[in-house]
Amino acid sequence: MKIAKLLPALVSTVLLAFPAYAAELKIGLQDDADVLDPAQSQTFVGRIVYTALCDKLVDISPDLKIVPQLATEWNWSDDGKELTMKLREGVKFHDGTPFNAEAVVYDIERSMTLPESRRKSELKSVEKVEAVSEYEVKFTLNNPDVTLLASLSDRAGMMVSPTAAKEMGANFGNKPVCSGPFKFVERVQQSRIVLEKFEDYWNKDNIFIDKVTYLPIPDTTVRLANLRAGDLDMIERLAASDAESVKSDPNLSYESVVGTGWLGIYFNVGDDPKADNPLGKDKRVRQAFSLAIDREAANQIVYEGTSMAGNQPFSPKSPWYDSNFPVPARDIEKAKALLKEAGHDRVPVEMLVTNNPVAMQFMQIVQSMVAEAGFDVSLKTTEFTTLLDEMSAGTYQVGRADWSGRSDPDGNIHQFLTCKAALNDSKYCNPEVDKLLNEGRQSPDNAVRKQKYDEAMAILQDDVPMTFIGHQAWIWALNKKVSGFVPTPDGMIRLVGVKKAD
């Protein structure tokens, strides 16, 4: 046999000997994740990595319902102060440690007590957690809190191996051990995070990827170029301005979904001298400002039709949206009348905005829109850390900041608008709103909750401590070879069911 004939024969023998094609998925992220410990981590991209690495007690479905993951069923007690969960049997952590009620107790207590934990506020309502039997666990709460389930569907509910956590302590993030479909291989800061398929995963029949690599590439143009060059299979947070070119590319597919977060303008209504201005002191002036914005147009221009105009912390598509307050049309005459009624002709405003091009473009549009009603806005651009500092200290007049969103409505409103809440940068305080939003947390009945949020919304639409302008979409671009990806409004990348053709 000639070599020329022998070679292809040899190659095909080798190929036949390895029928299982090792599918590797390379995902481009906008930033690098921070510490990879669910108890300590803060970043959005960190959460994306966890969806592959760490299973949670419960998960979120694309229509934002709580669905089973490591817990198969759960019940609230009648007074709403006890949550009992049945756990999935036969689950193992990546180091072989069995998953059971004891592990849940250890992990929840770890998140509640580890000094470095960022999960304490999410688990504040938990008084104690106990193992009822090997596969049943009971949470006892100090106050009824139905939002606990949503917390358990995120980092607070991620289960890490107690063996590894005990050994590594606060350094767990250097070599995380969880029970998700993929296990940790290596990480090089600002370069890559590599995971490989966990052979003992409880749902392994639905995992078709063998290796996942996450690469942080902050520049959106470069991220897209990498996808086009075939160096990446999938990218998150595609720039809205690139949406059309991706849709028309035969090698790429486009996925998007309006998220649960919002784009917000904060008015400082607190006690700081900076709040002592017409906007901080008079709600009519704030109402005028809000009315002068053409939300639909601004969203269309900046996000090229990918985002959704809004006026509440819940998007118009959300079941929690109060349809009594639809997205208002721009009304310059009414805005002017309100200003006049408040005794102003022109109002100077200093507005803080982060120095990223998209946020700046949005605010320049708002600046020119409200100018027609009588607001002389000067934009003060700073980088994000400085903005955060000034806004949380309350030393600003008006500020623009966004929220990445939570699946439970409470997570998108309570911590921003109740007195002295951690993220209440408007420094707004209204006991009536506090009461309603606290009650909104307590009833397991969604109809009751909706009513509380609607009542709060009526007050907030009148007081306007913040004005909501829209809801950004999560946009992904994928190589056509990748199939089975289902976009979820939380912006995560779930790899169960995702396939890559060779």
């Binding site: 390379k26 690098d32 510490v35 803060q42 304490k120 600002q190 370069s191 690469l215 850390t385």
Partner: protein, 315 residues
């Protein structure tokens, strides 16, 4: 020679101290609170207080500095606020990457800049000289980020010759490591080549007009030998100084180029650290960069002595 090197190293110590004080104080002047940046979307006051205590951010700035210095002289550069890793580990991860990129960029710069400089000097005031000048000038004027993105579009997206990103460590996968570094090294090297070409040209022009060159030509030496052996060897000194300085600059990291090609080097590390007010990381990276710069200067001075026998007497 040895005592000269030791002396030079000792002189470097006060320089480093001054740099560290300077960087430390500058950072504290920046607005923004590192702990708030760390706490992210869940700002729990108890946690914020704990972190402030843990990282000694409540102490007066001079005390913080003395504390930092005390650990630094023992080889402990502190912990990153953001990722909880020792700064030394981060530096050790990035340093080889930055050094590799710097070396490859310098190779490009030498390969383009020096021959072009020599050619321009030899063919002074001819069309070739002008062409070399225009090429050099455009190399200097084209912004790195633009050239980088254009290269990705051309070489990676259209031609598919080189990967656009996905850096591999040199010792793990040498071939792919060099492949992923070719484009960024070219982008950086291209800009440096222009400077190098201008300096080579002017040094060569002045040497070529010296008396001994005329003598060499009068002796009937081949032009090749006159240019490369007699002239270039004498023109090389300013080029060595310049190269050492350029290399030192490269060691500080090339922020935009690293960002575009996702090379995990110093540039990206320090920019991220500044934005999240990760003080210990900024401090550690600046210190290492300064040490690198000082060492490069020293290398240049030592090379002088090696290359120029007349200078040995002055030591």
């Amino acid at each position: 020679m040895f005592s000269y090197i030791v002396k030079r190293l000792l002189v470097a110590i006060p320089t480093l101290l001054i740099i560290s004080v300077f960087v430390f104080s500058l950072q504290k002047l920046l607005p923004g609170d590192p702990v708030l940046a760390m706490a992210g979307e869940e700002r729990d006051p108890q946690l914020i207080e704990y972190l402030r205590e843990k990282y000694r951010l409540n102490d007066p700035v001079p005390i913080q500095y003395i504390h930092w210095l005390g650990s630094a002289v023992q080889g402990d550069l502190g912990m990153s606020l953001r990722t909880n890793q020792p700064v030394l580990t981060l530096v050790a991860q990035k340093l080889p990457v930055t050094v590799q990129l710097a070396i490859m960029s310098m190779l490009f710069a030498f390969a383009i800049g020096i021959p072009m400089g020599i050619l321009a000097a030899v063919k002074k005031n001819t069309a070739l000289d002008y062409v070399a000048n225009v090429v050099a000038l455009s190399g200097l004027s084209i912004p790195n980020f633009w050239l980088g993105i254009m290269l990705i579009l051309l070489v990676s997206v259209h031609l598919g010759w080189l990967p656009a990103s996905g850096y591999r460590p040199f010792f793990e996968d040498p071939l792919n490591s060099i492949k992923t570094m070719l484009m960024p090294a070219f982008v950086l090297g291209n800009a440096l080549a222009a400077t190098l070409m201008r300096h080579t040209r002017s040094a060569m022009v002045s040497v070529l007009s010296a008396d001994y060159i005329r003598t060499a030509r009068a002796k009937g030496l081949a032009e090749r030998s006159v240019v490369l052996e007699h002239s270039f060897r004498n023109a090389v000194l300013p080029i060595v100084t310049l190269s050492a300085l350029l290399f030192g600059e490269l060691l500080a990291g090339a922020v935009l180029t690293e960002q575009i090609f996702t090379i995990p080097g110093f540039g990206k590390l320090i920019v991220d650290a500044v934005f999240t007010r990760d003080y210990a990381v900024v401090q550690g990276v600046v210190l290492c960069t300064a040490v690198g710069f000082i060492l490069m200067n020293l290398v240049a001075d030592v090379l002088y002595v090696v290359l120029n026998p007349r200078m040995r007497a002055s030591l």
